[in-house]
């Protein structure tokens, strides 16, 4: 059949109508049926998220002096993908696009002009700005690029078929390759400004503003404040760089200090690359933390220790506020890497971690044999449990006698004290008296009662300080051994106490209540209220112990070291370590004096050859002079 002219025209019209219909169908499918998918695609192209930095909270001393703050600075970074790409620029509008070497230049997405290749790969201008050689800059960049390549290769793995492997490699490179990698820290403002304002001159490099934790508290506070490290966390679908506390209060109060980063939803205008903020969630800045410690008191405590290995805790005897907490030796937080290397070297040499080292915090988490420091608590326990009365006297010929009546040569007294009461036993620190009382308690079934009284003084219990280890180790546990149960009375054997526990127990002796220790007075302006628990112990027993302790610096084991001029009550303690070395303890309390509150303290010096009073009294004396203002003209 042949079509006539009109038929052919009709056929042409039908053909045009079919093509038009096909187009309209497609248009309908895209704009009406598939609109949501294209809208999502459009949003994914122009929208992005940016984290809004949340300032990490400050840590202040009791008087508001800054101990840890955040400082802003600049880092120079390189983007590996840009470094390894060829840069193309639009000759009309200056838009820049990075492409692999082999890919032909496309058109400008802004104005449609074909892009032209430009060579800005010479690092010499940037090296001059940074004051380093071209080789050094190139080395740093190549090292970073190599790291990125290694990350990508590691993630690609070897399990994928070749085609998928290639696609996966390209995908990962498109991600990791564009992440800025640091090549220089603390970049001066002028350099940062030059690079930031002329991105086309330094196409592979970007300036990143960073926030550095500055620990102005220095070596005096390093064990208390702890350290932070840079970390990256996934927040709301994007990686956010954060400073995260890894030790000390920085870790214990990390959530409060860190705050919550804000989020900006931005749209990049494809015409000029400018970003427009379409939604913004304000960051919740970290909360400031105010300590109970005054920087001056802490510095005095650290200085008093004079670098000797030891720890010194001073607390407000009434409300448990920590007034000073020094661990020695200490270090400058800026020297952390070097100190860590030294400690590791020492470990290599010794085959074990050194017993006391600069990185160790000892005031709250250093548990050691307390020695005679515990005798006042043993005395109270003996009086309360009825094992001894103020008039109970025991003959001391230096040697404690075991269950079979045989005199023992270990843990004997330094001299024969003769007939001693509990008062005299405390003043002269008679080992025989307290071991005998303890033996009596065991034989009369009163040991558990004495143990329970010691618990009331916080022995073996957390003090409330956030720096203590978790889970908390119960080191006031003699076990089932008879000898250890006896030695417990004089702080020997298996029992261990921290200086903070000892200071708290002495505060309880002084006040009749056991305070919960607190290092932080305020978090975000909210006061941390003090807590104290009455001992529930007969006041006469406590008074008897206090009467003894006040005589210790005057005519007892601490006499002759200059402490008697202070309104002070103390107890000495020497924990035998075997050989000539011992841990020297001095604990006590001072009532309100010269406008200062009543304090309790515990001081320990590790591995000393001197007896407790000789080793510790000068340290305490130096601290008290400063604390009460006697070293000021």
């Amino acid at each position: 059949m042949t079509l006539g002219y009109r038929g052919r025209l009709t056929l042409l019209a039908v053909l045009a109508a079919v093509l038009g219909g096909a187009f309209l169908t497609r248009l309908f499918a895209m704009q009406v049926a598939g609109r949501a998918a294209y809208r999502r695609e459009a949003e994914s192209q122009v929208a992005g998220k940016r984290a809004v930095h949340a300032r990490r909270g400050r840590i202040l001393d009791r008087e508001g002096k800054e101990l840890a703050t955040e400082e802003a600075g600049f880092e120079l970074t390189v983007r590996a993908a840009a470094w390894q790409s060829v840069m193309h620029e639009c000759p009309r509008c200056g838009l820049v696009r990075f492409q692999p070497e082999k890919q032909p230049p496309g058109k400008c997405i802004r104005c449609g002009k074909r892009l032209v290749r430009v060579d800005r790969s010479d690092p010499a201008p940037l090296a001059r700005l940074l004051g380093m050689s071209v080789e050094e800059l190139r080395d740093r960049v190549e090292t970073r690029v190599k790291e990125v390549v290694e990350i990508v290769e590691e993630r690609v793995g070897t399990d994928l078929p070749p085609r998928q492997e290639k696609a996966e490699r390209a995908r990962l490179w498109g991600d990791y390759g564009w992440r800025p990698r640091r090549i220089a820290r603390d970049v001066p403002y002028e350099v940062a400004r030059e690079v930031e304002l002329n991105p086309h001159q330094y196409p592979a490099f970007r300036i990143v503003s960073v926030h550095t934790r500055r620990a102005s508290g220095g070596r005096d506070f390093v064990h208390i404040l702890g350290l932070v490290r840079e970390d990256s966390r996934r927040v709301d679908g994007i990686d956010v760089d954060l400073a995260v506390g890894v030790s000390g209060l920085e870790r214990a109060f990390d959530a409060a200090l860190q705050g919550e980063p804000g989020m900006m939803e931005v749209e990049r205008d494809p015409r000029d690359g400018e970003e427009r903020i379409v939604a913004r969630t304000a960051p919740r800045h970290g909360e400031d933390i105010r300590l109970t410690i005054a920087a001056g008191d802490q510095a005095r405590a650290v200085a008093a220790l004079g670098g000797a290995s030891g720890a010194f805790v001073v607390i407000d005897a009434n409300d448990g506020s920590v007034l000073a907490a020094a661990s020695s030796p200490t270090y400058d937080p800026d020297d952390y890497a070097r100190v860590l290397a030294e400690v590791r070297d020492a470990k290599e040499r010794l085959g074990r971690w050194p017993k006391h080292h600069a990185l160790q915090e000892s005031a709250f988490s250093g548990f050691d044999a307390p020695g005679s420091i515990v005798k006042p608590v043993t005395a109270v326990a003996a009086l309360v449990s009825g094992v001894a009365t103020p008039d109970t006297s025991i003959e001391c010929d230096r040697h404690f006698r075991n269950r079979r009546g045989q005199p023992l040569d270990t843990l004997k007294c330094s001299s024969a004290h003769g007939e001693v009461t509990i008062h005299e036993a405390l003043v002269r620190s008679c080992n025989v008296y307290f071991q005998t009382v303890q033996k009596e308690a065991i034989e009369r079934g009163a040991f558990d009662r004495m143990f329970e009284v010691a618990r009331r003084f916080g022995f073996g219990l957390p003090t409330g300080i956030e720096l203590e280890p978790a889970p908390f180790p119960d080191t006031w546990d003699p076990g089932k051994d008879w000898a250890n149960n006896v030695w417990m009375a004089i702080g020997q054997g298996r029992v261990r106490l921290s200086p903070a526990q000892v200071a708290r127990a002495y505060a309880a002796i002084a006040t009749g209540s056991l305070p919960r220790l607190r290092l932080v007075a305020e978090v975000g302006g909210q006061a941390v209220p003090p807590e104290r628990t009455p001992l529930g112990i007969d006041e006469s027993a406590l008074r008897m112990v206090r009467e003894a302790l006040v005589e210790v610096p005057r005519r007892g084991t601490a006499a002759g070291h200059g402490l008697e001029r202070w309104p002070i009550s103390v107890k000495t303690g020497t924990a035998q370590l075997g050989g000539a070395l011992q841990n020297a303890w001095l604990a006590g309390y001072v009532p309100e004096h010269r406008g200062r509150p009543a304090i309790a303290f515990a001081l320990v010096l590790f591995d000393t050859e001197l007896n407790a009073a000789a080793a510790c009294a000068p340290v305490l004396e130096e601290f008290l002079r400063g604390f009460y203002g006697e070293d000021r003209p």
Binding site: L9, R26, V46, G106, K107, R163, E267
Partner: protein, 403 residues
């Protein structure tokens, strides 16, 4: 159909063709001015201002083209064809290079594309050649019309301007088919042409042209992979999904223009996208949004309703042209109308199909809407030619002309 506008000068106006043309021109100006406001260019550089100048020039040329009887124009067909061929050769030597193509001849104050002029010259020349002959009804007789077409096509491909060159084929086939060429002969030519596609792709195309076609084919592959993964289960589904993802990524890389255009069109929705929102902002990623991809801009701003309006106006224009061709008795007049019909319909369909991913990106403007004065003037001259034919009904031929 005919009105006297100026005393002493009879300008024939064929309103069924003029009204949709005017509508399309106004829509084009509206879209262009909408794009420029956001760009903040100096107004004298604004696309819509330049386009208005083009419309004014086009109107002047169209008046001249309408006033002179079409038979007089057809009488000068070979002269026009020869002169335009010379210009096509000259443009290869003296032409202004832009975007790696040498398509423009610069004269003081004006630039124009000879290839655009050749579209109309070819229509007129073919009408002149075919009108009283019947040799094209034999296979051998097709040689001359094809030679007349392939000669300028070759020159235009050298520039290179694949889109314009490809447009000559529907013009030739439409005119031959309407004039009564044997369909089997035309089919045979199509088969021979199809056999030549592979060598043409391999050696005849520039890398960026190949890139566009690759991107288009990859895009088709994506559709297949997606459909397969939807039906498949287990490992097959995962494999097909991975393959679809890979192909999508490849399509994005290799066919950036097309992908951005599709997103801009799709994001337009039913009534258009908010200019400040993500859906509206994406338009600024579409390259050549004022010229080849002006429909993407329109569909983005005015949505499906805008697209329907444009297609409706184009349909109205084409039907009115076909109506003139149907009732006109002079073979030359019929062929001129059909040539213009094929030129506008082909150009419009290729452009529209390209913006929504139904055809590869070829670089053709959308008649009356795209910014580009050479194309605009030639399209207006095409409509003027139709008005010319419509205003001059020929004496009756006997039945059998083209039958």
């Amino acid at each position: 159909m005919r009105s006297d506008l100026l005393r002493g000068l009879r300008i024939p106006l064929y309103w069924p063709a003029i009204l949709p043309t005017a509508g399309l021109l106004l829509i084009g100006l509206g879209v262009l001015s909408g794009l420029e406001v956001r760009l903040g260019l100096n107004w004298v550089d604004d696309w819509h201002v330049k386009q208005m100048i083009g419309i004014a020039v086009g109107l002047a040329a169209a008046v001249a083209f309408v006033v002179v009887p079409y038979k007089t124009i057809i009488g000068r067909a070979y002269l026009l064809y020869g002169a335009t061929l010379v210009l096509l050769v000259l443009v290869l030597v003296l032409g202004t290079e832009r975007n790696n193509a040498r398509r423009w001849i610069a004269l003081p104050g004006v630039e124009f594309q000879p290839s655009e002029l050749m579209k109309l010259a070819l229509v007129i020349t073919l009408a002149r050649y075919i009108r009283f002959r019947s040799s094209y009804k034999t296979f051998r007789g097709l040689f001359t019309p094809f030679l007349l077409t392939l000669l300028p096509m070759g020159l235009i491909l050298i520039q290179p301007d694949l889109g314009t060159a490809l447009l000559f084929i529907p013009v030739l086939f439409t005119m031959l088919f309407a004039a009564g060429a044997r369909p089997r002969h035309l089919l045979l030519v199509i088969l021979l042409g199809a056999a030549g596609i592979l060598p043409l792709y391999q050696w005849g195309l520039k890398p960026y042209q190949k890139e566009r076609i690759d991107g288009f084919l990859v895009q088709l592959g994506v559709m297949d992979a997606d459909r397969g993964s939807a039906k498949a289960k287990g490992d097959d589904a995962a494999r097909l999904k991975a393959e679809a993802g890979r192909l999508k990524a490849m399509a994005k890389d290799e066919n950036y223009q097309l992908e951005q255009s599709k997103i801009a069109v799709g994001a337009g929705g039913f009534l258009g996208a908010d200019e400040e929102g993500a859906g509206g902002q994406v338009l600024y990623r579409v390259p050549e949004r004022q010229t080849d991809f002006v429909f993407s801009a329109l569909a983005n701003r005015w949505g499906f309703v805008g697209g329907l309006l444009v297609v409706g106006l184009l349909g109205w224009l084409l039907v009115s042209i076909l109506a003139v061709a149907a009732r006109h008795r002079d073979p030359a007049g019929r062929l001129l109308c059909l040539g213009v019909f094929a030129m506008l319909a082909g150009q419009a369909f290729i452009n529209l199909a390209m913006t929504v991913g139904l055809m590869p990106v070829t670089g053709l403007t959308l008649p009356f809407l795209s910014y580009g004065r050479s194309s605009l003037v030639v399209c207006m001259l095409g409509v003027a030619l139709v008005c010319n034919v419509a205003a001059r009904p020929a004496y009756d031929f006997g039945r059998g002309d083209f039958d």
